[in-house]
């Protein structure tokens, strides 16, 4: 990797020097981000000290450089984690170049050599992406080619190995995707378009399991259709995966399936969206055994709202790739100004419901025989055909349910308000503890379910030109888990440079009286051009990061933070 990079860098430099006499040297741009945290031992939130890092101070840094000249783009990213910050997966504890590529785009051709990100359809067969705050980067290192043989037709082919922290996954990933947008090809006029597409992705990983005859090549295929008219949008994708025994599905020999449908209607202030998902044994990773978040080849849209207010975000949903079904419906309407509900400035109301529940699984365990005779010793899931399930059958377990209603309104020239009510049903055993349906079934237990109500009122008050005060008042109420919470946030900002924020999250309802504590934090930010500094001090409550099918608990911490980001 070092050699490749050095060679690549030399290539770029010599290219630049060779071009030195020309007036167009191309441009270089980039960004830089760094975050530090100094931890203070806090015996209230962490009595045993297990979450308290030995290093006292930890930092991360990222530098992206992008060079472009005409049709040529090249870039690198340097990352360092000294050491991994509290809350990031343990593998992020090193430094190096994790991303470097050269790309050439000309006419109908687009070729990338090196690391790249790609998505086929909605991601059911392949999606590589980076979300560094969550510790996600599954980029492919290899070759990507895209070609447009005619207007509206796009063909893509990729091959490579995936990033796994500062290393690569064991599996080789190969993919092909074709998409045909009929409107430009057939010269349709008007708003209607029909887009059809298909993809095939396979992985190869050598196998030498002493007990099981594991397939070394695993393939997935998908077809998709998207019909767009002026107001309606209907998207559907179906994907199938050949038998893929791995550590995330208990090594069952069963094909997988994924269905994702998203439809919407939008016209004249009314927006409606309806979606359906069914994922059955559909995690797809390029290595049979890997860390939870690493080496995902595909991406399964969760079809739930991503909540960003602090307290509602404590109960985040995440896709259950081993088997789940659910739907989401959302309606928003903008009541026009000068009407009964609209008032002087109009009112936006959104109602949203989503759920997720288990598949109707009928287990087909594998009997294991004693060596001496044919007596059955036990029956196991590992190496079996797993289960059968009826297509629309609803299983016994609810994983998640989210109902929320939001009102958004400009009250006057100076005031804007948003009020939201939330109701969650949250299966903590499945979503956080990672228990499978089989875990419940095999011992006859029931999952822990949390019933949660929450409300958030956000007020924005424009004090005078460029000065504003933003307030969030949040409450969360549940008889399970950590009990009730109240939160107050005040943020004073002076455009275009400063903001000051103070927040108190008070876990007053914690069943453990010692943990009925205030999580207070204060932050100051300063922006100058494209550079932003932020520093703060505070006690951070335990949180949840959910991504790629996995939820991760981020332990509570206490300390100073400092961050800087810049673009150039």
């Amino acid at each position: 990797m070092k050699k490749i990079f050095t060679g690549f860098n030399l290539l770029v430099c010599s290219f630049l020097l060779a071009q030195n006499n020309s007036s167009d040297l191309g441009t270089i741009s980039g960004n830089f981000q760094s975050d530090f945290q100094y931890y203070i031992r806090d015996t209230l939130i962490d009595p045993s000290g297990e979450a308290d890092p030995d290093e006292r101070m930890l930092g991360t840094g990222f530098l992206n450089l992008t060079y472009s000249r005409g049709n040529f783009i090249a870039g690198i990213r340097y990352e360092n984690y000294q050491n991994q910050r509290v809350g990031l997966p343990a593998g992020y504890n090193s430094e190096g170049i994790t991303y470097r590529y050269a790309r050439f785009i000309k006419d109908r051709f687009d070729v990338t050599v090196g690391n790249f990100y790609e998505q086929f359809g909605s991601g059911l067969t392949l999606r590589t992406y980076e979300e560094r705050g969550l510790g996600i980067d599954n980029n492919l290192d290899g070759i990507r080619m895209a070609y447009q043989p005619a207007d509206g037709v796009t063909l893509k082919a990729v091959i490579g190995r995936q990033r796994n922290y500062f290393d690569k996954g064991a599996g080789l990933v190969r993919g092909f995707d074709a998409e045909w947008s009929l409107k430009p090809t057939l010269g349709w006029t008007g708003n209607t378009n029909l887009i059809i597409g298909g993809s095939f992705v396979s992985k190869f990983e050598a196998a030498n399991d002493p007990e099981l005859n594991l397939p070394e090549n695993v393939g997935t295929g998908a077809i998709r259709v998207n019909l767009i008219t002026g107001d309606f949008n209907i998207f559907g994708e179906y994907a199938y995966k050949s038998t893929d025994p791995n550590s995330f599905n208990d090594y069952i020999f069963k094909p997988g399936e994924g269905i994702y449908i998203a439809t919407s209607y939008a016209n004249n202030g009314l927006g409606v969206s309806l979606g359906f998902k069914r994922y059955d044994n559909f995690f797809f990773k390029s290595q049979r055994e890997s860390d939870l978040q690493q080496l995902f080849i595909n991406y399964l849209p969760s079809l739930t709202t991503l909540h960003t207010y602090t307290l509602p975000a404590l109960y985040s949903f995440n896709t259950q790739g081993n088997g789940e079904m659910g739907f989401q419906g959302e309606v928003s309407y903008n009541f026009k100004r000068n009407t009964l509900f609209g008032g002087k400035y109009g009112t936006l109301v959104t109602v949203s419901y989503a759920n997720s529940y288990s598949l109707d699984k009928d287990y087909k365990l594998r009997p294991r025989y004693s060596r001496a005779d044919t007596t059955i010793i036990d029956s196991v899931l590992r190496g079996s055909q797993g289960y059968s399930s009826s297509f629309l059958g609803r299983g016994p377990y609810t994983y998640f349910q989210d109902l929320h209603i939001e009102f958004k309104k400009k009250l006057s020239k100076k005031w804007k308000a948003t009020a939201t009510y939330y109701n969650f049903v949250y299966n903590n055993s499945t979503l956080i503890k990672g228990a499978s349906d089989y875990d419940y079934e095999s011992v006859g237990s029931e999952p822990d379910i949390f019933f949660v109500n929450a409300g958030v009122l956000e007020l924005l008050y424009k004090i005078k030109s460029r000065h504003a005060l933003r307030t969030e008042i949040q409450g969360l109420f549940t008889e399970q888990d950590r009990g009730n919470w109240a939160l107050l946030l005040m943020e004073y900002s002076i455009a275009p440079s400063w903001f000051f924020a103070i927040q108190d999250a008070y876990n007053y309802g914690n069943p453990d009286e010692d943990l009925q504590i205030h999580y207070i934090s204060a932050n100051v930010g300063y922006s100058f051009g494209t550079t932003r500094f932020q520093m703060g001090y505070g006690r951070q409550q335990q949180g949840v990061f959910c991504v790629g099918g996995i939820c991760r608990i981020v332990p509570a911490s206490n300390g100073f933070t400092f961050g800087v980001t810049t673009n150039f």
Binding site: F5, N9, L10, C13, L16, N20, L25, G26, T27, I28, S29, G30, N31, N64, T66, Y67, S68, I97, Y117, Q119, G121, S122, Y129, S181, P184, N191, N193, N226, N233, F235, Y265, A266, G269, G271, S273, Y299, P301, S302, L303, T304, T305, T308, E330, S332, N334, L348, L460, S465, R466, A468, S493, A495, P496, F499, S527, G529, T530, R532, T565, F568
Partner: protein, 169 residues
């Protein structure tokens, strides 16, 4: 890796005259009808163009675009400026973008960068991130984050660009 720093410095030095992205790259994104749009072709007929990266779940982004919405008619009338809002919502939320903007009542052209390809090519770390392009398609200013009132500063710059003044980066 030891070679990395000197080489990169040499790399930077060799290009020291041309730092900062000055044009939109030729990356393909999509419009709400599923048509591919080459980002390098985005323009506003010689008038200033504001390009704002946002997502349905990003509250400051929505606040910024709503603040601009309140004044957009005047902005357009006085300077001819247009706003293009590029959503980085991934497939989890991209189907909701159209109903969302209908609810917000935005009249901007909205484009989808579903796997953040353009965002990466423009080195955008976090959203909201706003670019200002002059009439020739040069990126003359960019800004990260939004605090209430930023839109007034942006509009001052738009006015300067519209009248042909050079602005400080």
């Amino acid at each position: 890796m030891k070679l990395y720093i000197p080489l990169t410095l040499a790399f930077l030095f060799a290009t020291s005259l041309a730092i900062a992205q000055d044009k939109m790259p030729a990356i393909k994104i999509k419009d709400l009808n599923g048509n591919q749009v080459d980002a390098s072709t985005l323009s506003n007929n010689g008038k200033p163009l504001v390009i704002s990266f946002w997502a349905t779940w990003c509250k400051p982004c929505v606040r910024e675009l709503n603040a601009i919405k309140d004044q957009y008619i005047d902005w357009e009338e006085e300077t001819g400026v247009k706003v293009i809002a590029i959503s980085i919502d991934d497939s989890r939320n991209s189907a909701k973008v159209k109903p969302f903007i209908t609810g917000q009542g935005w009249e901007y052209r909205v484009l989808l960068d579903e796997n953040s390809e353009l965002r990466r090519a423009l080195n955008v770390n976090n959203i909201p991130h706003t670019f200002l392009l002059d009439g020739k398609g040069n990126i003359v200013w960019q800004h990260n984050g939004y605090i209430p009132g930023d839109e007034d500063h942006l509009y001052e710059l738009v006015t300067q660009v519209a009248t042909g003044k050079k602005i400080e980066k």
